[in-house]
Amino acid sequence: MSTTLRSLGTRLRTNWQDPLIRRNVGLLFLGKAIGLFLVLSLMTRWFLPALLDAQAAAPAPTSAPDPMASVNAINTVWTLVAAFLVFCMQVGFVMLEAGFARSRESVNILVEGIADTCICGVTFWLWGFAFMFEPGTPWIGTTGFALQGLAPTYGATGVPLLAFWVFQFAFADTCSTITSGAMIGRCGFVGDLLYSVGVTGFIYPIIGHWAWGPDGWLAVMTPISFHDFAGSTVVHTIGGTISLAGAIALGPRLGRVFKRDGGGPMPAHDLIIGAAGGLILWFGWYGFNPGSTLSALDTAGIGRVSFNTTLAACSAGLTALFYSYIRTKKWDLALTTNGFLAGLVAITCPCYWVDPVGAFFIGIGAGIVVVWGIDALEYLRVDDPIGAVPVHMVAGIWGTLSLGLFAAGKYGAPTPTGQDVSTVVTGLFYGGGLSTLKAQFIGSASITVATFASAMALMYAVKATGTLRVSPEGELEGLDLHEHGSSAYPEYMISGSESVILSVADTSKAA
């Protein structure tokens, strides 16, 4: 014991004589002192007064009505579990995108996914939620910035506001991560940060307000309002359309030759990660669709939604699988993965209002349109490395319109304690005429066009700053090394020694 202490003392003494160590330790402690000072001053400025107020107000009368009395516990838990499942889709997205990209841009995809999530959380708290879900005009919400001055539960759902926020944050985050899908491999990181703020802070919440806001113009449209149960249009078409605008603004990756020029897509670097990510997305979708009831007490509803989600994914995956076999005589993994994802995207809008037969055919349609979408992009020479545009935009449009065809005419809307069938949604094939289809068409077309126009403006604005696309050298070197200075698989890179750590002075000459 004493020898250990003595050797420790000796080491400290020798180290202390090294001027470099002395300077670094000094800097370290100076930094800590500054940080501590800032935290303490912030606490005294805001936290302490609040604490004192709380103590002073502690013996307040308890006879006041409990503001949380309208909260429904089981619905809250259901919504939160669904929110966590939807958040788990982030894992699926980064895996799918990284797997289907080349290895030299994997780190970039991971950092983008994480940064998008963080940006989305902050902007959605500060103003995104207010724009999207609070009353205002038919075009944009205008109250409740930073969630100030809002009721303890959201609307008549019986779900606490903050729980509802978490659920909707996960949705907004999904939209923002879809966006990066068609832009990977050549989009600069600063450009990504800039357009992410535009997407999660403005395009998604403002256009989403039209369909999901309490007074959005599509939500209150007469005689039949636009229906989008869990977001085929609001989340997926918006995300996919922004992605398309980004891919157009960026142009294809260097060396990408399109099918009509005698080339083909660049190979995926890890299909295992890609396919596993696709299946994790499928799993997360069980929060996305059934959770959108916001009500576990609509038991028939959540069962039906889960069932329809499953069936549509299966039929879409099978369709894409056989379609790919007919075309190429090979059972294509990447196309099948895109196929079942397209089925999930398509069933997201109609999942509450269709019966099993409808879900089955919606899935088949999705499996076909996703292949056509991939072909169309290839023909138009738009480089979409993972198929974000066919899967999310094209299948999203198909799913939204399909409600007008397949709505069974038996289901209305979920309520906090059950279901409300006073007004049902009926599609063309179930004798409902064209009115639902017309409403769906108006909603899908207006949102797609508005999103595409605003996204093109946003992408070209970011492009004008010169940060949207990296330099050709950086792109050939790979975004991982160029933007982030590290490779996703460092052990496969041969280095001279284990690691040569540069001190601050060395970096100027080697950087």
Partner: protein, 131 residues
């Protein structure tokens, strides 16, 4: 007979391959290699520490050629692999004593021409004519 090996940038591999096929050189062996030439060291960053990556990734192509093909091969590689900046790579030409094709036991020049050479070259020329 010569053994030609060259070190090129990884992103120049597709054009070099095309140029070699057009020149009629269709028997090539490719390796991923790392090495050090005249270019600047690259710095990587991991959890805030800056690490020096001393070696750059390169592609090494080896091909055995009969004498009439040697100059054509060298010209094809130089034309396709040159970018003009440091790090474009090098070509090494060595004499080759003996070549044996294992399948037939053919020796030397007879063993050098891949059986599909003409088809591959014709296809490459067609592609080049198209673009």
């Amino acid at each position: 007979m010569k053994l030609i090996s060259c070190i090129i940038r990884p992103d120049r591999l597709p054009p070099v391959k095309e140029a070699l096929f057009r020149a009629g050189v269709t028997g090539i062996t490719i390796t991923k290699v790392s090495g050090h030439g005249g270019e600047r060291d690259m710095v990587t960053v991991r959890r805030g520490s800056r690490l020096l990556l001393e070696f750059r990734e390169k592609i090494k192509i080896e091909m055995a050629c009969s004498e009439p093909f040697v100059e054509a091969t060298i010209n094809a590689i130089v034309a396709a692999a040159r970018t003009g900046s440091v790090g474009d790579g090098k070509i090494f030409v060595q004499p080759l004593d003996r070549v044996v094709r294992i399948r037939t036991g053919e020796r030397d020049n007879a063993a050098l021409t891949p059986v599909t050479a003409e088809i591959v070259q014709k296809h490459a020329l067609e592609l080049a004519g198209k673009s």
